[in-house]
């Protein structure tokens, strides 16, 4: 369907993870982390999300051109998907 979902998925987690990691770095050692048992959860989890987002972006980058509007290759047992267009 045109847009490879790994682009929005990767970007969302890249941006969100990046924001959390920066915020975690800035607030490192702050009293707010007493809630999370003294773990700087924003920094750690932000980096995890950043890595996940980057990985998805990498997959999307590698797959670009391969995922397009062309119909999928059908196996012998399958008929083409129904394409109801005007006039047919």
């Amino acid at each position: 369907m045109g847009l490879d979902i790994r682009w929005p998925l990767g970007l969302l987690f890249f941006v969100t993870g990046g924001m959390m990691a920066v915020y975690g770095a800035v607030t490192h050692g702050s009293a707010i982390y007493e809630k999370s048992l003294s773990v700087d959860i924003n920094l750690i989890w932000g980096l995890v999300l950043l890595a996940f987002g980057s990985f998805m972006l990498l997959l999307a980058w590698n797959a670009r051109g391969r995922i397009s509007d062309v119909p999928p290759v059908l196996t012998s047992s399958e008929e083409p998907p129904p394409r109801r267009t005007h006039g047919h």
């Binding site: 369907m1 045109g2 847009l3 979902i5 929005p8 998925l9 970007l11 969302l12 987690f13 941006v15 969100t16 924001m19 959390m20 915020y23 975690g24 607030t27 009293a31 707010i32 982390y33 007493e34 809630k35 999370s36 048992l37 773990v39 959860i41 924003n42 989890w45 932000g46 999300l49 996940f52 509007d69 119909p71 999928p72 059908l74 196996t75 012998s76 047992s77 399958e78 998907p81 129904p82 394409r83 109801r84 267009t85 005007h86 006039g87």
Partner: protein
């Protein structure tokens, strides 16, 4: 799973900071942005309603489980985890996995291969017009109400957690408008991305929501387990009844679910589970969007893998919440006034002022208060009831500092909205294809039906808003609606199984079997009462009380079993008395008359059966570990 979020009224208060708002805004921007990008691909009604049948199996697979993973489900499962323990996982294990394997292996070839565009349309092809009309009409009504219930529950949660309080106070707006604002906001966002990108948009957002739930809840489980000393800590605190999924199931009175193993296996594991996962268009439509029949068959099998591990994300927090050693309701109030919480959690005045007179809760679960009078609710023995629905929200507020708190709340908001979106896309497809094109305006151009799909989206959202306000205006209406839905859904499995696997089944047999099965479900509930019900009323016994079940769950299982039994017997009986259709008309619709999908070109590990066996083996291992 009944959920009364209105009881959240005594909830904690949270003052979000800029980073939390930014995380939420980024999510909303991506949701709408994805819709805008997808708009240019929406050229035909097939693109809009069926995502062009071009999505890969893994995307549809994640959407398949996310369509079911609304926030009501997440909060409800956390609540049940706190109430019943790890046995709640059976809703994800025996209550889902075998059905998902079955629909992938045996039923998907008929849904996908018959070229039906919806589940009601399959019934039209297999049976007749009246069976389709009943299924389409009842399904359309249920989707609108389900979407409205999601909208209502989201608005109540936002209101109770005081998410927008700071913003409204800053803008000088009355806090009473927060409910309306929340309803309006979710309506606009969901309307925006579905009318732009159709089913593709809904499926893409369900995939985003899947990863957001994992991203938001995994650190919650990590920190929570760290706090209670890991799984062994929970075992020590709560004991074996909470930490074993099959213990005590020999008898209904020796386990927290209040049901025997055979009612669990047949009622939940067969009738309810197969009835939902194999016939509900809300989930089936994700698989019907797959790029090929082989991909469509893999969709539920792929979905089954994360599904069986989800108890560790949504049920385990409930167990953690109840095993945390420090806090009852006094302590919750104390926690709120502690300096560490000053930045994120402000004390709720009602809670603090009443703290001395309110009994202790258990762990992070406070006692349940009447939302109007503020008094503690008690059972018929005078013991205070616990507000289990607060398990997950309280876990988020207790363990998450600002920043990741925004992520956790975004995950919850995403679940609510994707729950709504799944219902709205199912509604616009069934309305356009099964009602409008079939009975109101036949033979129009494809552009016209595409236009109607967008109008149906607007109509579905407007009706959902009306349903949300309807639900908010009447006590117990949510329980009543869910009860009626369960009556309609209970016998459906028999109709589909007979239709797909017995060529002799006729349209008359199916229709009247379905009607009588629904009636049987209502009569069974009217004649029985669960022991945990406050009395005769919405929970049963409105005709007469002939039998008392140990729990509501046991009553639900047996209602489903009765409805299924009556439907299957009557459908078989009437089918034998009425004229069957010609066999050539049933090719592609009935198992024995349809060529089996060719798999000769696939390697052994590419075959759906191999994946199915691996999934079932994992299910067995999980059950052995938590036996």
């Amino acid at each position: 799973m009944t959920l009364t979020l209105s009881t959240l009224a005594m909830g904690l208060t949270t003052n979000l900071t800029i980073i939390d708002w930014l995380i939420m805004l980024v999510y909303f921007a991506f949701v709408l942005g994805t819709g805008f990008v997808l708009k240019r691909y929406m050229r035909t009604s097939t693109d809009f309603f069926l995502a062009g049948r071009r999505l890969p199996a893994w995307v549809c697979g994640l959407a398949f489980i996310s369509a079911n993973l609304g926030a009501q489900e997440v909060i409800g499962m956390g609540a049940s985890g706190a109430k019943y323990g790890i046995a709640t996982s059976q809703f994800y294990w025996i209550g889902a996995i075998p059905a998902m394997v079955f629909v992938g292996l045996f039923m998907m070839p008929f849904y996908y291969g018959s070229k039906a565009r919806s589940v009601p349309e399959y019934l039209k092809l297999r049976y007749d017009e009246k069976t389709r009309a009943w299924n389409a009409g009842s399904f359309a009504v249920m989707t609108v109400f389900s979407s409205g219930i999601s909208m209502y529950a989201m608005a109540i949660l936002i209101q109770s957690l005081h998410v927008f309080d700071g913003l409204f106070l800053h803008l000088g707006l009355p806090l009473g408008w927060i409910f309306h604002f929340s309803v309006f906001l979710s309506a606009v966002v969901v309307l925006g991305y579905i009318s732009l990108g159709g089913l593709t948009s809904a499926i893409y957002n369900e995939v985003l929501q899947f990863f957001l739930i994992v991203a938001g809840f995994l650190p919650l489980v990590w920190i929570g387990l760290k706090n209670v000393g890991g799984w062994h800590g929970i075992q020590r605190t709560l004991g074996p009844a909470y930490t074993h999924s099959w213990r005590g199931l020999a008898h209904a009175n020796t386990n927290p679910l209040g049901t025997e193993w055979y009612a669990l296996v047949f009622g939940l594991g067969f009738v309810l589970s197969f009835g939902y996962w194999c016939t509900d268009f809300l989930v089936i439509q994700s698989a019907m969007a797959a790029e090929s029949q082989l991909a469509a068959r893999r969709v539920p099998l792929i979905a089954a893998i994360p599904k069986m591990f989800f108890p560790f994300l949504v049920i385990l927090p409930g167990l953690i919440a109840i095993s945390i050693p420090v806090v009852g309701q006094h302590s919750l109030a104390q926690l709120q006034t502690a300096p560490v919480h000053a930045q994120n959690v402000a004390p709720s005045t009602a809670v603090v002022s009443d703290a001395s007179s309110i009994p202790e809760g258990k762990g992070l679960i406070p006692v349940e208060l009447d939302p109007l009078s503020g008094r503690v609710l008690r059972d018929n023995k005078g013991q205070p009831l616990l507000n289990y629905d607060l398990a997950i929200p309280n876990m988020l507020l207790h363990f998450f500092p600002t920043g990741i708190l925004g992520l956790g709340l975004t995950a919850l908001l995403a679940s609510f909205m994707s729950g709504m979106a799944g219902n709205v896309t199912a509604f616009n497809t069934v309305w356009t294809y099964d009602i409008y094109q079939s009975y109101i305006h036949k033979g129009a151009s494809d552009e016209h039906y595409l236009w109607m799909g967008r109008m149906a989206t607007i109509g579905g959202i407007v009706l959902s808003i009306a349903a949300a306000y309807f639900v908010s205006s009447f006590n117990n209406i949510m329980d009543a609606l869910q009860l009626v839905f369960s009556f309609v859904n209970a016998p459906l499995l028999a109709t589909f199984l007979l239709g797909m696997f017995w060529k002799r089944t006729t349209g008359h047999g199916a229709f009247w079997g379905l009607m009588t099965g629904t009636f049987a479900a209502a009569v069974h509930t009217g004649l029985t009462l669960p022991a945990d019900a406050p009395g005769v009323g919405i929970h049963g016994g409105w005709i007469a009380v002939l039998h008392v079940y140990p729990s509501t769950m046991a009553q639900n299982f047996w209602t489903a079993i009765w409805a299924f039994g009556v439907c299957i017997v009557l459908t078989i009986g009437l089918s034998l008395l009425t004229k069957p259709r010609k066999e050539e008309e049933l090719v592609g619709l009935v198992y024995s008359l349809t060529p089996k999908p060719a798999e000769g070109h696939l390697l052994w590990y590419q075959k759906p059966m191999t994946l199915a066996i691996a999934v079932l083996a994992m299910l067995v291992v999980l059950n052995l570990v938590f036996l």
